[in-house]
Amino acid sequence: MKDIAIQVINFSHFYGQQPSLKNINLDIYRGEILGIIGPARSGKSTFLTCLNRLNDLIPGSRVSGKILIDGLDIYQPEVDVAALRRRLGMVFATPVPLPMSIYDNVAFGPRLQGQTDRQKLDRLVEDCLDKAGLWAEVKDRLKTSALKLSGGQQQRLCLARVLALKPEYILLDEPTSGLDPISTMKIEATLRLLKKDYTIILVTNNTKQAARVADRTAFFLMGELIEVDETEIIFTRPSDKRTENYIEGKFG
């Protein structure tokens, strides 16, 4: 029996009057990697920011329906949004290191919560950089600016920074879209390793990436969830013609 971690029920999202997500129903299982594919502007990224309520920051953003995360209705007014965002760490399409040292970037989240114990931070920073596959490359220059890292390294730093939050879920928004194939491989390898401890939702504009790493794959189109199933099924015998067309590269 699959353990349902996130339940999305009749969920819609609007920018002003414009609907960007239409009546989404989706269950996300604990410990899986869910790939989300679909053409540009299909609502994939918006869906991620709805899960951690980052869409709150956009003027004119509005939702209806429910998202339950471990049973918690996250759009209730009394929900602690900062705490929610720590539980669902997010990695963005463009790596954005904050303009501070590598160490300070990783320690940023824990410090927000008042962690000042040097030894604990040291251990956490090492542990997270290690999990993100970056420790060996940066261990001698933790105090140098994170802006000096290469694009691929920056993205792994962003992943390490998210891991330092000790999240339960990791949301990835096209995390390798700006990276070279080798950096992409490293990130994908890291994701497979992380799977045992985290539930991962991976939005990607690279369908092959979903095929490589996702357990299940969801196909979004124009704000609608067209279908979701085992990755193998989606890629071999999808039930909707539009999914098939997209995967075969007929549009998008």
Binding site: A82, A83, R85, P99, L165
Partner: protein, 284 residues
Amino acid sequence: MKTKFRLKPRAEQKVVRFFLYFLTSVAILVLVFILVVILKNGLPQLSLEFLTKNPAHMGKEGGIFSTIVATIYLTFIALLVATPLGVGTAIYLTEYTFEGKVTRIIRFGAECLAGIPSIIFGLFGFILFVTKLKFGWSILSGGLTLAFMVLPTIIRTSEEAIKSVPAAYRLVSYSLGSTRWQTVTRVVLPSAAPGIVTGVILSIGRSIGETAAVIFTAGSALRLPSSIFSSARTMSVHFYILAREGISMSKAYGTAAVLVIAILLINIVTYYLMSKYISRTSPE
């Protein structure tokens, strides 16, 4: 009969270039002229004694020590008040409200404030601080008046500096579970700091050079000020009185030289900071 006079494009190019070059030279020459006149007449007056001795005989003799001290006190008070007010306003306008009618009105108000002549600030300071609040002619009255005078500059430069912090930094900060205030203090302000500091330094320059607003509010006592309630004379007021009353032109030039050198130094520091700021915000 009309004759149309037209130059060939190449010739036109040359004429325009020469003309613009001429205009630019005039602007620079004015600066050079001022510097030469002030420094030529003022530098011979400068000595350690001039900087460290108090004025005597209404300023005919002695140095300008008390006026330097008064200038520093006044400027310090002005910045102590204006910086938190200005930066706070800028943070509110950029981080705590969405762009709308209210922010536009506040911004318009700040801009109007910037356009008000300094002598009007002097009058306002005189009515409010000197008489109504009974601070008298004092460093406090003068400092507060200057604070309101430089406030728009600080709001403006801080706002620009805060706005130039990439939106992605804020998004990342929020996504890592920070509150609004944590994002402001840990991400936005550190990134905007060089720009904010630049605005503050420009304001220091304006405060030091201000005469009209100060003469109404801080008075013109020559004694070394003993507290913030003492009346005091700043360098620029001292210069004004020495020259206006014909007390001593040579001492006036000396004072002017110190003023000009101080402001030049401040501008050089500002340029240095700005170039560092730009090199920090641009990639590599």
